[in-house]
């Protein structure tokens, strides 16, 4: 009897509490919602729309012929030679840029981790390539550096050749002869500072005591780097590589400017191919399907990326 009365009161109290609790929860959520809703509406709903469009036969040049076509566009995407080569080019481009800029970034970070005359100024100058507008950087490389007649590379070669008495240096058309490396070099130049900054932060977070202990124990510099610094840097390397990959996969400005995907489709990556399908061929359905494939591919890569970030993140939260 007493217990029953008690439990009734308890139930009553609990229900009042959850009501208040719900209000409390919404009060807590309120500041978050505007930002979240905006992100979802502007950047996430479009992906769903893309999914819908991808099931249509829809070319703007033949109006009135928009019709549901199921998975036809996906069949086209997976059998189209151009799209397949675009996918391969995307992987080649991203992998080469990320690996090369990571290696160069590591080298620069190790150099900058030591004191030398003008270290602060050197660091500032090294950040510059990353800050130059990508469109401007792409133009700069295409015309001021790669141009066969007056580009900086051939110009310098010419000057060196003339210095040694030759009549004229070699004339190499860099973009035509080496389209993919030309593209990679310009992107590596832009992304190396990004890698360097993250790796330098990693190097500087290494405990000095550990290095000191290694020194006292008589470990060589190479051994210290190999067995202490590199393992410590591993997560920074992963973070830099994955963040870099997220951006480089989407590289558009450089392809659009330096090679226009050419010669043929030799340097066309997925973003550029999708852009062409959309705004040059007006095949909306097909472009959407290619977009969906690109998103799925990215999600697979992102799962690894998220794991890396979450390991760093949880460490920070639990600290």
């Amino acid at each position: 009897m007493v217990t029953m009365a008690e439990s009734a009161a308890e139930v009553d109290a609990r229900s009042r509490m959850t009501k208040g609790g719900r209000r409390q929860r919404w009060l807590r959520r309120a500041p978050l919602l505007p930002a979240l809703v905006l992100v979802i509406v502007v950047t996430q709903l479009p992906f769903l729309t893309t999914l819908v469009i991808s099931s249509f036969q829809w070319n703007v040049l033949s109006p009135g012929q928009r019709s549901f076509s199921g998975l036809t566009n996906y069949v086209t995407v997976f059998t189209d030679e151009r799209l397949r080569s675009a996918a391969v080019n995307t992987v080649t481009l991203t992998a080469s840029v990320v690996i090369l800029s990571l290696l160069l970034g590591l080298l620069l970070a190790v150099l900058l981790d030591r004191k030398f005359v003008g270290r602060g100024l050197a660091r500032t100058l090294l950040i510059a390539p990353f800050l130059v507008m990508p469109m401007a950087a792409a133009l700069l490389w295409k015309h001021a550096i790669y141009n066969p007649e007056y580009g900086l590379i051939n110009g310098t070669l010419n000057a060196v050749w003339q210095l040694f008495g030759a009549d004229r240096g070699p004339v190499i058309s860099w973009v035509d002869s080496f389209p993919m490396p030309a593209l990679v070099a310009s992107l590596v130049w832009q992304w190396t500072p990004f890698m360097m900054l993250i790796l330098l932060a990693g190097l500087q977070s290494q405990s000095n005591d550990v290095l000191e202990a290694a020194r006292v124990d008589g470990a060589s510099g190479v051994a210290t780097f190999r067995f202490l610094t590199l393992p410590h840097l591993r997560r920074y390397l992963e973070l830099a590589a994955l963040l870099g990959a997220i951006y480089v996969v989407q590289a558009f400005d450089h392809v659009f400017t330096i090679t226009q995907g050419g010669p043929g489709a030799a340097t066309t990556n997925l973003p550029y191919e999708i852009y062409l399908t959309m705004f040059r061929e007006y095949e909306y359905g097909e472009a959407a399907a290619a977009g969906v494939v690109a998103v799925v591919g990215t999600i697979i890569v992102s799962i690894f990326a998220l794991r890396v970030v979450s390991s760093l993140f949880h460490e920070e939260v639990t600290r």
């Binding site: 502007v42 620069l108 010419n158």
Partner: protein, 302 residues
Amino acid sequence: MTGTVSAEFVDRRPAPHKTGVPPRPRHRGVTSDVHRGGIRWALVAWTMTLLFFAPVAWMALTSFHREVDAATNPPSLFAELTFEQYGQLFDRGVTPFLINSAMASCVSTLLVVMLAVPAAYALSIKPVKRWTDVMFFLLSTKMLPLIAALLPVYLVVQRLNMLDNVWTLVVFYTAMNMPIAIWMLRSFLAEVPREVLEAAQVDGANLLHVLWHVVRPIAMPGIAATALICIIFSWNEFLFALNLTATRASTAPVFLVGFITNEGLFLARLCAAATLLSLPVLIIGFAAQNQLVRGLSLGAIK
């Protein structure tokens, strides 16, 4: 063993970088080695630095040359300097592009900060349930390739009659930068001491009051750094600016499209345009370089 390795070792070890670490004892007789190693090190580091910086320096130098001196082979380093190219750019109407870019990046950044600070508050100071899930949802939105969103965005904007309108870019850049800003701000707000907030927070105090009078002053350096990163990203954005604008609302990167083809190329003017349009971000980036790494790593690295 200790005696024999020291010389080589002192040479290679990275210098201590944290202040407050006692200077490491120098071994007698290796000082000159250290010194020589230091010079060698500085030489290698500076060679690499100058190689990387050369294209930027070349761009800036060429922008002050006359066209006849720009496209020469071998390159002319010591030609006469002039502001002619910059004058030409303004004569040819670069100003509206600059204004559009300034508008799109500053207004969107302002909106980002206004929405992201409360969001970060709800993810760190008074966290909602499962706030880590929200964080990772936001991060995952940054990973999807924007190109896949371009077509639907384009169609909707077209239907709304908002093509070639700066406000379209403002809305889009706000949403584009929001996840980065929230991640960054959360890492800054998480550092605000609890006691300060609890002391300041009168029971039932208005959220806006707390944000403006307590959070804003403390988190100001973080907010500034976040804003700078957002300005950089929206100033440089090209893909959406190219496809969502035509003549009136085009931003700085779109101005450069005219320089892509080889025909009638003006190299000095191209360099002037590239320098001028990159300048705001270069200045911001140099000014914020100590915060840059934190922003680029989404707050994961301090």
